[in-house]
Symmetry: D2
Subunit: 362 residues, 4 copies
């Protein structure tokens, strides 16, 4: 089967990774790279002399490629993806899909109308670690899920175009959306801008999934240490995904007791011990997630399948990012996430559903 | 100078630590122990035969001791402390001071009227690590403080009388109150009860100190791993207090850059590196904090000094614990913390002060 | 059954732990403590007023106790244990049993003649962790054992009476003797004295068990960090015992491959990965090893059983400690360990058995 | 200045790294790659179509390049380097320089005669971490050096051509040779072959530098965990280089006490604490060591300077590798390292210099 002719738009931070992975794939051939800034393409002339390096979208589209990967600033995603879809290309866009729910919604509809694949590069979904986490959760190994807690902090890239929620939370949101399957009922967030006026660099995001399940993310560009850790806590076992732990990225903790039904003696033992059951760290096969993403993109195009991270997922995430930022600006007020096509609505106090804690207490 | 005659009320989880430390102190002599449950005192008859072991408060007060340490369930603190203060004893109470703001307020007033020391055993304030942290923050070493983030989670003691906020957050609240000095403007919290109906075992608490300073605590009884870590992030340096890291409980991170004013090149370096400046871990002298608490208690009695963790601090903390639980029940709504004697009030949306983020953006 | 009347000799560093554990045991009663230095006993008068505190061995023996625990400097072990055995007491001696093979041998013979229990307090053998390690090795879970590697280093107590091998290696030697079961054929050691003339503070000890099995210990008082880690490497799985890792003291590593028979592809994967199989950390029940030692000592006395760490084991270890020091002084020369009663002999070059490596190569 | 025309010989495990770094350098141009196995070059035809890919040394030399980097199996180093030097090329050889002292000696002499640069790719010497370590040691920051202890173990590549000492110890030897400056007096080693007959996979190597300074390396292909850690212990401070600790590769530990002169009270504190002074982790600039090696190679060629890792250093290391293997086969016997051109000689017992421990004791 002939290789898919692919172009890359945007050669900044992420672009080189896309070029490397689309080049390495036996399924695709990188034909052209387009960046609005000619200086960015300059070093490529020496190392990738055989590629077409172009400076305008018209020139790029004139090449009549089959597919495109877009890795430009968020604000430009929608317009570029729209041009490419209109031109009949299959499109994979860097996360997040677009800068607003409205834009994202339009892209989803356009892709459907044109019969083209629209995918978002939520790379984590293609990692062997997240695949294993989903298997473990789906199999019931952990029991009922209680909460997901994620800490994604570091001394970071201070972006000027988006705040830390738009920069880092898409990772957590995509993983949680994928693993939990369901849809959050409401979102609430706290945040603060320290280093640059108006651009939050420190934030906490809370998702209410109903039924005693909540997810919480701490995202932060002002942390002295780099942390990438997610806890998936269940009634029987809990799982920790620490991607910076190269030897044990996933650990499964058997609680050894039935939480909430511990005897007096078990409670006392917990006080003096650090754990109460076995720990197991399954082996995760090595493999570059971005390569798996490339393979999946081609398979969806060839097999007319719906991508794991399709436009709908991309849209759901943009809606949550919008809601989180709105909540921060409203001092942490809770925002209801409708399933519909509109933007999220802020809750008025009288709309508060009985809280889970409240229900439990009542 | 003769030793202070001390009694201990309550011989459950914490009582033995109090007996051990008041016994070891050259300044105090433990004379009597009172527990309403005679079975709890039984093992003491063999190992501490010389102590008076009593089963009623009347018997206890009849011993005419000089001071008392109370380590009973929270709900009983106020009544017991009141009896002891009325009888003219100096009192140190296990944290938190009382179960309600109203109770705590009454104790503060009573102690003032009787001219007795009322202190709360917020043990952390007497640790060499927290002392060092306060010195570092006060000296300006960190620059302007941006945020405090605390994670205090473990597979824990599932208490039946109070939720996880009342159990664990007093530690964070006392440290932050002590180190930051000022008073939070408002509090907001999310939480959920999984293991026992109506008793939250997972919670996130957020304090707004105004002026771009926020504090956030994750407290949790359902975590597979034990974590005790606080980040104090500043404009120049940041500090991490990890009390489970026995060799390096405090680490000071020099950012190496002016946050928010990083050049393009510095930003790029941050992307590929884990840090940008030196790390320094000051030596912390060993020493049991509870022993330092005992010494401080006696010094305040002898020297008529105000304790570091006096009734006023205890009262402020009870007010914040009340506010946090109220916010959880109101789905995370923000609760204003007045400086006055009343309980905290829930904010109505129209009362929202411009957010820090909002101001920054405006 | 009445409690065993026990006395403690030596109240320095370890003595208080013995007093605490023999007191806490329901099987024993601490009656008397003897220390040649009266100042050491002074603080006991206040806290343990009911105990007999004596200053001479005659006074001590006159009390006609049933058993004794000796925790004095190594040089005094033999004489004190001999007096106690002669007086008909059962004896447990702090490790190592004696200062020389000759002394140790005499104690073993005396105990046999008097029909008394002679035990050495090799505390590790009574820890739940070491019990679990022995079970895992004995069950064949690891496959054939390849090597044991121990690192036991810290910035330490600079003892004046013995070198670091005599101070720290008894722990490793007792664990290896217990877990491996067999007897080493020869020993070799390197070491150096830096801080005090003539007292090695840094040493490496190597045991040859024949059949391709070796054990190596790094013991050190001059390390900036504290490490307590043992690797038990097997053909199928390997085990790491890190007692400073409070949550995961034992980890079992499945190699995922047959070592030495890896395919070209497996080899390549190993190059880029940190591991190749699952890791499992069994839960270890909490429990103080010294308490288990006390219980075992009483059970051996009552049931006329041979202790896990009997005089024979103590003798074997003293022989190895002697051999190690001799090897250090001989620049690392290999010393043959006979099974007999004599001291170890240095090998002459022509006595070198074909090395395991040599045999394999030949 | 025009770029240096470079060829690469050997395109196995390390070759691609050399191609990447010589290509990325602004000082060099990769012109040709030679590998005796044409299959290895096949994938290069697609990605590096502009390079000359050749299958014989004659073809390679006919290109009349200026310099060559050789990354082939150790046994072939000498013959290939000799051909290249004879042809007038400057040569950098993968470590170790050659398979025998005799071969290495000949290469050093040939390079001198031909006036060409002969360098060994001991990559660590070009890392910013090792540069910093040398600065810290040279400045006297650590005080007199007591010992170097290195652990370099992992579940590894089971090489068929050389044992684990030849595979891993060159790293330790090159760092120690570079940082300590002096020359070891003797070497001793223990080792064992488990997975493949005659090829040691587990070894301990001990170097005696005289004057109470020793270096010890544990190298191992059969470890369940990957460790890359070196301790440089000094009289005043000690340093740990842990290259797997991405955030703190170098830590400097202030002992806080004068080792060997600690008071009784200080000794007691050490017993209960994990450390006694501050810890400082200097920031290490990021930067790929192999790129720095390429730059250094070119600078030595252009400026007629002696490389940091010149042939003499390469020769010293081969001599030590030979001596270590000889010692393993002789059951750990000590081998004297002469400074001359010959191979190391085994010590006869009567030649034993008084040991450092012995001297100290005498």
């Amino acid at each position: 089967m002939s290789k898919l002719a692919v172009g890359i738009i945007g050669y900044g931070y992420w672009g080189p990774n896309l070029v490397r992975n689309f080049s390495a794939s036996p399924l695709t051939e990188v034909v052209a790279i387009y960046d609005a800034n000619p200086a960015r393409l300059e070093p490529l002339r020496r190392t990738h002399g055989h590629l077409k390096l172009v400076n305008s979208i018209e020139e790029f589209l004139a090449l009549r490629l089959q597919a495109v990967a877009i890795a430009t600033p968020v604000a430009t995603h929608a317009a570029l993806a729209e041009r490419c879809l209109e031109a009949g290309l299959h499109v994979v866009v860097e996360k997040p899909l677009a800068a607003t729910t409205v834009e994202a919604q339009k892209l989803v509809e356009l892709a459907a109308r044109k019969g083209r694949v629209l995918m978002v590069d939520h790379t984590y979904l293609f990692s062997n670690a997240v695949r294993r986490i989903k298997e473990l959760v789906d199999s019931g190994e952990l029991g009922d899920l209680y909460y997901v807690d994620s800490v994604r902090i570091n001394l970071g890239l201070f972006r000027h175009d988006v705040n830390v929620v738009w920069d880092l939370a898409p990772h957590d949101l995509s993983i949680v959306d994928h693993v939990l399957g369901g849809q959050a009922r409401s979102i609430s967030a706290w945040g603060c801008a320290h280093a640059q006026a108006g651009i939050e660099d420190t934030a906490y995001v809370n998702l209410d999934y109903g039924d005693h399940l909540l997810a919480n993310f701490h995202v932060n560009w002002l942390s002295p240490v780099k942390v990438r850790q997610m806890i998936f806590a269940g009634a029987r076992k809990s799982l920790i995904f620490n991607e910076l732990n190269t030897t044990e990225p996933i650990k499964v903790y058997d609680h050894g007791i039935e939480l909430g039904q511990a005897s007096e003696e078990e409670r006392h033992k917990l006080l003096i011990s650090y754990r109460s059951g076995d720990i197991w760290s399954p082996h995760i096969e090595p493999g570059e997630p971005l390569q798996a993403m490339v393979t999946h993109f081609v398979e969806c195009i060839r097999g007319k399948k719906t991508p794991l991270s399709d436009g709908q997922l991309g849209l759901r995430l943009v809606r949550m990012l919008e809601a989180a930022t709105r909540s921060i600006r409203a001092q942490g007020g809770r925002v209801v996430l409708g399933g519909g096509t509109g933007s999220p609505r802020a809750m008025r106090p009288e709309q508060f559903a009985p809280t889970r804690a409240g229900r439990a207490a009542g």
